[in-house]
Point group: D2
Amino acid sequence: MKKVNNIAVLTSGGDAPGMNAAIRAVVRTGIYHHLNVFGVMYGYKGMLTGEIFPMESKSVANIIQRGGTVLKTARCKEFYEADGRKKAYENLKKFGIDGLVVIGGDGSFKGAQKFSQEFDIPCIGLPGTIDKDIAGTDFTIGFDTAVNTAVEAIDKIRDTADAHDRLFIIEVMGRDAGYIGLHSGIATGAEHILIPERKTNIDDVIDDLQANERRQKMVNLIVVAEGDEFGGANEVARHVQERMPQLDTRVCILGHIQRGGSPTTMDRLLASRMGYAAVDALIGGTSNVMIGIVNNKIQYTPLDKAVKAKQKIDPEWFKIVKILAS
Amino acid sequence: MKKVNNIAVLTSGGDAPGMNAAIRAVVRTGIYHHLNVFGVMYGYKGMLTGEIFPMESKSVANIIQRGGTVLKTARCKEFYEADGRKKAYENLKKFGIDGLVVIGGDGSFKGAQKFSQEFDIPCIGLPGTIDKDIAGTDFTIGFDTAVNTAVEAIDKIRDTADAHDRLFIIEVMGRDAGYIGLHSGIATGAEHILIPERKTNIDDVIDDLQANERRQKMVNLIVVAEGDEFGGANEVARHVQERMPQLDTRVCILGHIQRGGSPTTMDRLLASRMGYAAVDALIGGTSNVMIGIVNNKIQYTPLDKAVKAKQKIDPEWFKIVKILAS
Amino acid sequence: MKKVNNIAVLTSGGDAPGMNAAIRAVVRTGIYHHLNVFGVMYGYKGMLTGEIFPMESKSVANIIQRGGTVLKTARCKEFYEADGRKKAYENLKKFGIDGLVVIGGDGSFKGAQKFSQEFDIPCIGLPGTIDKDIAGTDFTIGFDTAVNTAVEAIDKIRDTADAHDRLFIIEVMGRDAGYIGLHSGIATGAEHILIPERKTNIDDVIDDLQANERRQKMVNLIVVAEGDEFGGANEVARHVQERMPQLDTRVCILGHIQRGGSPTTMDRLLASRMGYAAVDALIGGTSNVMIGIVNNKIQYTPLDKAVKAKQKIDPEWFKIVKILAS
Amino acid sequence: MKKVNNIAVLTSGGDAPGMNAAIRAVVRTGIYHHLNVFGVMYGYKGMLTGEIFPMESKSVANIIQRGGTVLKTARCKEFYEADGRKKAYENLKKFGIDGLVVIGGDGSFKGAQKFSQEFDIPCIGLPGTIDKDIAGTDFTIGFDTAVNTAVEAIDKIRDTADAHDRLFIIEVMGRDAGYIGLHSGIATGAEHILIPERKTNIDDVIDDLQANERRQKMVNLIVVAEGDEFGGANEVARHVQERMPQLDTRVCILGHIQRGGSPTTMDRLLASRMGYAAVDALIGGTSNVMIGIVNNKIQYTPLDKAVKAKQKIDPEWFKIVKILAS
């Protein structure tokens, strides 16, 4: 087992609340174990451009509660080519870096996997994405915050829906995964939740709205994940308005507010625990795995298995949605 | 001076946070003065359909902190015709109602004005609108909450803008008035604020973005009021992308979250004070005025002067925006 | 198996955010299964005084997001005597109630257990307590909200601690359990966390504060659970000030804010799922169990085993605290 | 008129939300006018120890939304002695500083006043205190945030008060001024508000609680400013419990959470405008005044008149409190 001495940490892909807490945990756990810890700016791009700098305990003071990422993030096409990765490797070598922690989504893990196969730098991935759709972990850093942000926003919208007896069709994030939609929909008592994991039958939705209209239930919320196969909120609204033009129908697309904001307690704990475990893994000689939490225990998943996973959603939830919104 | 004995209260037009606090103040002040107080559901519509019910002190318990309006609100075209108003009058008379408090915007005041001219029911208006664009008052019920909601949302977006070095173009409410845009833009350090009260020179915006790009300032926020004469956020984005396709530009339309949520302290105080003053005015024999607050003093404005007012915005604010975002 | 036709629901013990979401789930699931559902006011006290009323779907509209409990809660000594329970039984019988859902803590479960042994009314318990210290479930309704409230408060305190280079000693709720303390302490980067599950060595705390002083680290947070065996925050502060009078030390006792407020997404989901499962259990002929969630699966625990449990806290967390706050 | 070239900014006294927004405004307005701007750490203490450093536009990026103060604050007895001020002056001179902006309370202004009398450095004061009790301004930086924080906390407490039919006695900040108490009490519908500006008649409070008890109104909130002449919340509770031992009475002392947190829109605007005006004043040759806002206009008050002012509170507010909480 090769001893690790100098590690680097970076954030990659879309930002997620809790990334700063994870960076903090990596840096301080590294220092505790007498490693030198380096920060890489702008994800893989900073590895190519050499934006790499030593971090101390103080570098991560007072960031556990901040949204975004102090190391910034960016896309980097060059890293997906051999020449780019070589340049990245050479830059890391200048600093003697012999271990890398990548906080990001499944796309970022693919890059890390490729990089560590070509060069002798072990990589550990931490699942940082609001979408909670990575195989090998029950939770991802940022999901709990994103869904709570969505819920707070929808609570506000319900005030207006209630005041006006309106139908609101609300689009939440989730291009491939419906977890934000499912959880925020249940938590706000939405009448319908449309997500990619489940085929949308728009006729059922219309039937139900019509039944509600007959019994004078005019306030209705439909939560739509952006990746629902029927289309986003605008598409659903277009369809509803065609069929029920008499309804006072409005669309809200929550958008990027779901990515930012101070992380919830759960995301801070998750990030802290995962960041700590990442350094532990590197020191212990483990490499090319993603740190996950399964049934409240740390679990390693090889980076090439830590792919975007359309987890099976328990059908009982849909029964609960139907019953509780009645 | 005719003695008032039975008053009614309703909310009309778009809902605004603090309307419930105003209803509570009207009800409890009325009861304190030994009046009977009635609630009218769905604004003027409830006057026509007779959805009128007696309210007690308990009817408004624990609502001061709630968004929306417990009396609901709706549009009502019939009320803008003579026959409709006659029907409304007859319904009020069934309950012996001899005074009316209307919480809403300038459109609602026009209706009240007309109604009280035709019939012998004095009306008092309370400015309830998030837009803060009514002549005769420094503040409207709901504005402070709406602008704080916008600011919290934009703060979250800035986390992401910062993480990615992005330009965000954010649309806030304000079809005719730019106050939400102006205040939220200053409070979040927006680089540009586009509002209806000021001609938008898009070329200046582009020049400035280009200057920022040259000095590596890539994080930029542009706040656009929906009523800006150049168009909303999407239109601005279309233009920016045409001229600066290299920028990572995103659009967020905050939408209806700005109408809901628990009112701020200021909106609760404003609503409480205005509701109290409304009953005071009715008892004192005043009628057909809107209650305003000017320089922290209650001020009456005749309902027909309480129109949508494009208040002059001090040009110094634009200088401050420019300097502080630099 | 006896068929259940009329069920009642009540909240008992200290209130916890999410209780309303649980009530809503019980009521609507009951109605879905064609049961009559009754609400009991003020916990067991309402069973004795007969404050029992039929609930409809509408009775629980728009409460999923509210803190507190619409059914109120109270202590009731009489119920812990045979005569009291007999009276309670007779009142339930007047309404034909043949099933009972009790949302509360372990004390409330003991009452339910006793009651169902004496009379033929099956009881189901739902763990509603902010302390997360009930055997047979990984989470309790209210914990996630309480800990997030504590974290938001401590975040604010850190702003001041940072501005002044101060030591803050912050007391959070938890008479018998340290989960709120542990989670909020980690999430806010507290330097020390004192909880009942772990012996507090105050000399170690002082040593550490002195070491921090030597290296000019003057901002320190100590989070203390009210039930820590050394004493609460005031006792800790007294000791620190005696030994280190030169420090600028302040005490904050967060107190009852931790019980209220709109429930988080997680608490709403947990409460919805558990309320649904409670009715399911009653219909299925199960009785005298508490509904818990273990490893994300519903699990039944006999009411007499659902006692206050000092769960073993993984010692690794204390290592993480020490490392990450360094 | 002497030209100003190099200015310094510091924060002094208790921290208040919005101080960072004010620092940002001073720095960027200074730079815009081609001044060199320096930051002084730890208030006057940093002037004595020479902790003075040049600030750029970037130094204040992304701080407008942060609580606390990036320049930190501290008490400094030495500055209130002639020798201390001399030393401070010499340190400023090393940097060529010829203008000073002091963000703080009336105590800090006295120091600035004295300093500028002895030495040729013009000083401008900005009122930064959560207490809103400075003569010469309608608002102080931090007040709006503090009062909203108190209101959010009391809203949560009301959830519990309501669930349990309890009396809560809540202490808010305000050693000399009752504005936080008055505004938060009205906004949360408190039954009684005890503040230093008004003699507390505890017998009236007891009478009223007894009257409420007779009519079964058991939920009561009493908001007490810490500086009320009768004593704080504990003293009030002691008295109530003596006279009405049957009540379920609880005390909450909100404490330091009221100082921290992200500033509200109003505090950010106020701070931005005042910071801008401070530099404007220095450039214009004005010195030794505090910048205030009166009736929405900038107003200068000589530093020695900008003292703690027990502003007269309109007695009508107390009538409103009594009526609306009924």
